[in-house]
Amino acid sequence: MADSDHEYSEQGSDDDIPTRNGTGRAGAPRGRAMASRPKGRAQAKWEAAASSNWELHEGADGSIEGVLGGLEEAGKRKRLLKDTTPLQRGIIRHTLLILDLSIAMIEKDLRPTRHLLTINYTVGFIREFFEQNPISQLGILGMRDGIAIRVSDMSGNPNDHINAVKALRGMDPKGSPSLQNALEMARAALYHTPSHGTREVVIVLGALLTSDPGDIHDTIKSCIKDRIRVSIIGLAAQMHICAEICRKTNAGDENSYNVAVDEVDYRELLMSITTPPVVRSTDTEAQRRNQAALLMMGFPSRIVEEKPTLCACHGNLTRGGYLCSRCKAKVCNLPATCPTCDLTLILSTHLARSYHHLFPLRNWVEVSWARARQKGSTQCYGCLAPFPHVPAAEERSEHNGTRAKRAEGASESSRYECETCQNHFCIDCDVFSHEVVHNCPGCQSSAHLPGAEEEANGVEGESDAMAT
């Protein structure tokens, strides 16, 4: 079993970040066909890896350095290039994470063991989940010894979950998992969640079996009825029932079932779930019925008090807190629901944290030597790091070799251009701007954006005019 874990992950589970993030549109047209098995089988990832040689060719001067540098940059960029079309995303999420705690998790094919690695990754997952989804709720279940166990209840406090998950280190995996029991428990836990949020179940499955007390297809049907979406990360090999669960609960879209080939892949798969899911078209119909709502929320200000007073939420004596914007009851932490008047109290910063999903930064493009020469960029606009020197025009033919040498996806001139402000950036700033800060340093730094103006006027080659 340990040897088979590379086998069944379909191609695209790793290389294809856009597909995974943009599942909504890819899956929508197939809505009716959800129950039928997909025809044929794509080339598995390990097959692709085995058939592609290391396409490393030494440069003319016999150096391999440029090739490797290119590979590294290409890798960084691959992670970045995602679909930047603004999509409706479910930002108020209710997610249940189901961990496999069965005997299969003792396997050491993922170091140190699947069990310990899962716990470590889960702690990171919890932090990242609340970072990305500050007003969402998470709960954690386990599958152990044939039954589903509750690890932590639905809550919006990351520390509750982290402590509960860390406590699992002392609990040895045992017995076999039951997908049906776990799904039923998840369904019960998600039953009371408000309809304007998403309902998601994420299963980490190490075993290659599920031992269920009844017919799991009934459970799948109830999950569809309850609008629960299931995504599964396999640690061993692909299982038909998992694919079926994911396909049926995601409107025919199978991208939510992935098998991790190694530790890095596992981590990426888990972390990709922290991105808010795209709202499907079927959901939009449902929204028209009863989901999307205009929620009234309070943005309370923090107060400081001389003397301690009772808080309305716990009845503890505290100094300071937040006053409900409507009824002036004092609560100690945000986000919260006012215990007196039921108003949702939140920090505006909690809401704003999700805006980059709604207004994503456009991908930057690779810069050719010719373009670099035209713009005359010598250093990164963001971090001031110097760029490699632009070769003179007559050297160009010689440097065509360089172009071929760089790995695909990396820019031949090590520059990346934002098309809106037409500034050039290094790969580090490219990654940083898209992954962390979600702003373009150039666009935010100038009130006059050549790219935007160009688009508006339809003027061609204005950058030539500018460069002179």
Partner: protein, 389 residues
């Protein structure tokens, strides 16, 4: 020389004190400074700021400094200087007229950094170097500002300056292993992903003694920033993830967002009025000179004060304390929408039971009854025993 040259990455530390990178964002909005000439002119403020910068450099020989101007229609580096090439018309004069300023100003344009100041035996060379670069860049910035540009954009580019500061800090931090990089950030850092199965998050804080710790100081004079709400918020979150405190010294104007920035990142917020503005240098030295490590042992100003957490509505840029939030895109509106269509994402929104009772969840009575009827019976299967395989 190496000490102040922030691009030097090879320098090794040999003593316990961790170096810190102070990035100062100077709001040079001419409109706002014009109003302040009575109590504190820009030139006086810059002179005071230089004293403060020198103090920062003097504390630790490895300390670094970066200064960015958040000007009326662009944000620009004051220190370290841009390497300028003859073709790079970009940093200067993006708009058609009034460019070419830098071409005439030949002395500061050298790809190897600006020309050096005259050697003055009475001045510590790093101090002189910073002063020269900063002043010549600031002068060029002011000279290149046209009246046209000023009248068209009365705001200041704080969001851009913050983003520039962050990219710079991120690069500097990568060059030197950081004390401030938290585990949360490591995930998105491509190099950390390959690290595999480290105990994420647990031990990250303990090794904080070495490495570069960064902070940002914003000297703000402008008021309304609501138009840059989203990019500013994005920058604040980036600072939160990287645990970079944003200190704010407000010389004039009022904006709730900068106070939120300081609060969210653990920085210091102070606002000066007409009387206290004269003590600008003193405030800088006493409140803002201490780095994060020292701040643990000090009682910092601004602690134990309430913070205004109100938000700006998307429809009128009004500041609100109760708002209406679209459940799809989380846009904030100050009043119920007219035709129930979200102005940002266009979703059709039901109003819940607004006006009847204070509940934020729309009705779903019907649904509940149906779910109970056909789904309720077999729900509790979770604790049913499972036959052994």
């Amino acid at each position: 020389m190496n000490i102040v040259d922030a691009t030097d990455r090879t320098e090794k530390l040999d003593e316990g004190e961790a170096p810190s990178l102070l990035t100062i964002i100077l709001d040079t909005n001419p409109h706002a400074w014009a109003l302040l000439t009575e109590s504190l002119s820009l030139s006086k403020a810059v002179a005071n700021l230089l004293v403060f910068i020198n103090a920062h450099i003097a504390i630790n020989h490895a300390n670094r400094i970066a200064v960015i101007a958040s000007h009326a229609e662009r944000a620009e580096w004051l220190f370290p200087a841009l390497a300028r090439s003859q073709k790079d018309s970009h940093a200067n004069g993006v708009h058609g007229d009034g460019e070419d300023m830098e071409m005439q100003d030949g002395e500061a344009a050298d790809s190897d950094g600006p020309s050096l100041p005259r050697d003055d035996a009475n001045k510590y060379r790093p101090f002189a170097y910073i002063e020269h670069v900063l002043l010549s860049n600031l002068r060029r910035l002011m000279e290149s500002t046209t009246a046209d540009a000023l009248s068209s954009t009365p705001a200041t580019m704080i969001a851009g300056a913050l983003t520039l500061a962050l990219t710079y800090i991120s690069k500097q931090t990568q060059a030197l292993p950081s004390a401030t990089t938290s585990a949360q950030f490591n995930y998105s850092d491509a190099t950390a992903v390959a690290g595999g199965n480290e105990m994420s998050g647990d031990g990250a804080k303990s090794q904080a003694s070495m490495g570069l710790s960064s902070r940002i100081l914003i000297l703000s004079v402008s008021g309304d920033l609501a138009s840059q709400y989203i990019p500013i918020m994005n920058s604040i979150f980036a600072c939160q993830r990287l645990t970079i405190p944003i200190d704010i010294l407000k010389l004039a104007g009022d904006t709730v967002f900068l106070q939120q920035a300081a609060d969210a990142t653990g920085g210091i917020y102070m606002a000066l009025d007409n009387n206290s503005r004269a003590g600008f240098l003193q405030y800088l030295m006493f409140a803002y000179l201490a780095d994060q490590a020292a701040r643990d042992h000090l009682i910092m100003p601004g602690e134990g004060e309430g913070v205004d957490f109100r938000a700006a509505c998307f429809c009128h840029r009004r500041i609100v304390d109760i708002g209406f939030v679209c459940s799809i895109c989380l846009s904030i509106f100050c009043e119920p929408l007219q035709d129930n269509l979200c102005l940002t994402c266009g979703s059709h929104l039901s109003m819940g039971n607004y006006g009847q009772k204070p509940v934020v969840v729309p009705k779903r009575k019907k649904k509940k009854r149906r779910a109970l009827a056909d789904g309720g019976a077999d729900t509790p299967a979770s604790d049913r025993g499972t036959p052994a395989p």
